[in-house]
């Protein structure tokens, strides 16, 4: 279970997140939606302290961290409960696909090399890249790199996987293959938080949708509810713009 209480974050005087409260159940897939600059990515990055929150409390599994005055050890513990998939993949460029997946297992979780390798191969197979294990990131397409990124996150067997706009950097033809992989692991009951602009995907895959605007949660609920009959005017406005069929008159 993941619990966020009173999380705030500002850059200097500019407030980015104002008092966020959030509670997510184990095995749940949560989609965070919202316009650019609404703080969704910042919220996600606060969960593993890639951004340092100013105040609040984050509890993931059996680790609870008070953000104010959180020490290196707290942050380290929290990060071991989470894994992240990045918008720009951020694979280790000097390592092969397999080594990328193995890295955390060997260095952080101190698995034996052979065990780490077996587990990593399993994960690469899961994302459909068993035949690419010896390829370097520069030899893979964007979609393939992102799938390696997903395998790297899953291999750690974290309490929660954080997806930061996993398909935003991909060209439209590659989006499908990555979404398909995420969809299949969502079915396995892995807890996930996904920041995304893919409305149809969010509606289809998630159990819980959070809509954010201007550094605050505007509305949250099951996808049928939030997409079907949003309570807030701001949500309606956003969804209308994001899901409308574009028509052009020339």
């Amino acid at each position: 279970m993941i619990q966020v209480r009173g999380l705030t974050k500002s850059y200097g005087k500019q407030k980015v997140l104002g008092h966020i409260d959030l509670q997510l159940q184990k095995g749940e897939v949560t989609a965070i939606l919202g316009p650019s600059g609404s703080g969704k990515t910042t919220l996600l990055r606060c969960l593993n302290f890639l951004e340092k929150p100013n105040a609040g409390e984050i509890a993931i599994g059996d680790v609870t961290v008070n953000c104010k005055g959180a020490g290196k050890r707290d942050i380290h513990k929290l990060r071991q409960k989470t894994a992240m998939v990045f918008q720009n993949y951020h694979l280790f460029k000097h390592k092969t696909a397999l080594e990328n997946v193995m890295e955390g297992l060997v260095v952080v979780q101190k698995l034996l090399k052979a065990d780490a390798r077996a587990r990593s191969q399993l994960m690469l197979d899961k994302v459909g890249l068993a035949d690419k294990q010896d390829a370097y990131p520069s030899q893979l397409s964007g979609g393939q790199q992102q799938r390696v990124g997903i395998a790297r996150a899953l291999a750690l067997n974290p309490e929660v996987v954080l997806f930061d706009e996993p398909t935003s950097a991909l060209d439209p033809e590659r989006v499908g293959e990555v979404l398909e992989v995420i969809r299949s692991i969502a079915r396995e009951g892995i807890t996930m938080i996904i920041v995304t602009h893919e409305m149809a995907f969010a509606r289809d895959v998630s159990n819980h949708v959070v809509f954010m605007d201007d550094g605050a949660i505007v509305e949250e609920g099951p996808p049928q509810e939030l997409f079907g009959s949003p309570k807030e005017e701001r949500t309606r406005q956003f969804l209308k713009r994001m899901t409308q069929e574009w028509s052009y008159t020339i």
Binding site: N48, F49, L50, K72, H76, R79, Q80, T82, A83, M84, F86, N88, H90, L91, F92, K93, H94, K95, T96, E103, G104, V107, V108, Q109, A135, Y136, P137, S138, Q139, L140, S141, R152, A153, L156
Partner: protein, 236 residues
């Protein structure tokens, strides 16, 4: 004066006896410089409080003065400092018992360290921040991320420049001649003096230096190819 080609060969053979010293004067400062350079680059890159201004001063000073000057400053300066502290601490120790060679190692390491640190720093800047975040996200500590993710890529990027520094050290090792360490250049001087055949002796020395340089360049090119394996491939 007539050139004696046969003597070039004789001189060359005599110079080989001093070759190990030249290689030592290149290798030890290269290793020492790499250590210093990595440390300095790390401190400057992460702006370690209290230290990064000091090391910035060190780099500026070394890069602003000739290598021969560093050698003389260390050679004439450090015995004074060592004896001063030995007296203060009441130790029965005299700087005269330290071999001259050690001062040369120290001086050359300090010279190489400053130059190497700049190249390593450029390499560190070339590794994108995203990879560091990814390393943190899988649970690595800052030090693990530096050692396993950033440093290998930074060194790969700076390898061509580092080769130049090592070649510079090889050629700069001739300066050790000025403080009576007998290496190839010093030996060439002796051979030349003894036989009154200066041109021949120095041609032999030049051939020897050039040969080693070519070997270093070849080794570096091979290493570069190996280390940069991950850059190949077309699709991005």
């Amino acid at each position: 004066m007539k050139l004696d080609p046969g003597f070039i060969y004789d001189a060359f053979l005599q110079l080989l006896s001093a070759l190990p010293m030249t290689l030592l004067l290149t290798g030890v400062p290269a290793a020492g410089g790499l250590l210093i350079g990595t440390g300095v680059a790390f401190i400057r890159h992460y702006r370690v409080r209290g230290l990064h201004l000091i090391v910035a001063g060190y780099v500026a000073f070394i890069r602003g003065t000739p290598a021969l000057m560093h050698l003389f400053l260390v050679y004439f300066g450090s015995p004074v400092i060592i004896d001063f502290f030995a007296r203060k601490l009441g130790l029965d120790f005299n700087s005269a018992s330290i071999p001259i060679l050690y001062y040369v190692f120290l001086a050359f390491s300090l010279t190489a360290g400053a130059y190497l640190s700049e190249f390593i720093r450029a390499g560190l800047l070339a590794v994108d921040k995203g990879q560091v975040e990814a390393a943190y996200a899988v649970g690595m500590t800052a030090l693990q991320a530096f050692r396993r993710i950033v440093l290998p890529q930074a060194l790969a990027v700076s390898l061509p420049n580092m080769t130049n520094v090592v070649i510079g050290l090889l050629h700069g090792s001739t300066l050790a001649f000025t403080v009576t360490v007998l290496e190839v250049f010093g030996k060439a001087n002796i051979v030349a003096n003894q036989n009154w055949k200066y041109f021949e002796a120095f041609i032999a020395a030049a051939i020897l230096y050039w040969g080693i340089t070519i070997l270093l360049e070849t080794a570096s090119a091979r290493l570069e190819k190996r280390i940069n394996r991950y850059h190949r491939g077309g699709v991005a």
